[in-house]
Symmetry: C2
């Protein structure tokens, strides 16, 4: 059955071409500028063709989100070098912030934009973010078992640290920190300091 296999390969290749073109346009021009027609033109196919490979735009955005999480995962894998849990936690925070400020559009897609989550069925798990979430959760597990932080519930500690970092980043990316009295340009540094203060509070 060589033909069936080749066809499957071709189908996968086409999805790759679509998602690659979409990500490229997305990173370069932003969420607002990508449209099915735009993507279709980029890959030199008709708009309708995209619907032979993706149910709708949300499903495509879901796949793009998956790619973004792979990028963050690779970054964690490569640059998360510290062995001490507390140092490792601080390093993860810093990498998270770096990713957010370097790739604001991708961050948006991963954590803020609603569309890519629409494809998930009610009970279905969010596989895209899982691997990255585990990085943080495993560190928190060590911190709790070694009693390095003033929290005892791993799930709660993980969620809380993530929420805190995401809170800063998302308020910044959505322009809500125009109220805080800090200079726009200083905000990345301010956020880094605020999160380090949080880790200090957290330490046992």
């Amino acid at each position: 059955m060589g033909i069936a296999e080749r066809k499957e390969r071709e189908k996968a290749d086409m999805r790759r071409r679509i998602v690659d073109a979409a990500i490229k346009m997305f990173v370069e021009e932003g969420y607002e500028k990508i449209s099915i027609r735009n993507i279709a033109e980029k890959i030199e196919y008709s708009p309708a063709t995209i619907y032979l490979y993706y149910k709708d735009k949300d499903e495509l955005l879901h796949d793009m989100q998956g790619e973004a999480f792979i990028a963050l995962g690779v970054m964690f894998e490569q640059k998360l070098t510290a062995r001490d849990p507390l140092k490792r936690l601080e390093q993860l925070m810093q990498l998270y912030l770096q990713f957010a400020f370097d790739q604001p559009e991708l961050y948006d897609l991963m954590f803020i934009i609603k569309a890519p989550m629409n494809t998930l069925k009610e009970s279905e798990d969010w596989m895209n973010g899982l691997a990255c979430y585990r990085f943080l959760e495993e560190i928190m597990e060590e911190c709790v078992t070694q009693k390095l932080i003033r929290m005892h519930d791993v799930r709660l500690a993980t969620l809380s640290a993530w929420a805190h970092a995401h809170g800063f980043v998302s308020l910044y990316l959505r322009c809500r920190l125009k109220i805080s009295g800090f200079d726009e340009a200083d905000i990345p540094k301010v956020i880094e300091k605020a999160l380090k203060d949080y880790l200090k509070l957290l330490r046992a």
Copy 2:
């Protein structure tokens, strides 16, 4: 010059009618469902008429956001009864969460959706959110001066508490907590607990 005044009044009235209709549809049917054409139909005018009173949709959304912040401000004014700064802080947190879970669409418009912020010029302040922000900042000022918390910078403490609460809420509203291992229905309670734990960490 009675005529000029009447005309100004009529202009203000029309803006009211537009923003009221828009908010009503927004709360009832959500962000995706409101369109200029829809709003125009509701108030029984043509779509083009709206552009005589609002430069574009973003400006209208900015006004709607202002209304939403008035609602939150009124809630704070009425229900923020505690006098002790730490109790007051916890109460504010709870009211903030209550507002977010009761009025998710309004919360979205106030803190997540990008459009209403587009109208603000580069240097312009974000007046819409200011009054509400002050509620938190004044409490934090008291906490810092009375040495009730383990932070010394009022601006940083204010920003941090807000970011933490917003982080939880926005991850929840944008369906990202499908990864945390918590049951969907329990999440509001989990967030409340997590924020209380944060306040515990914060206490001197």
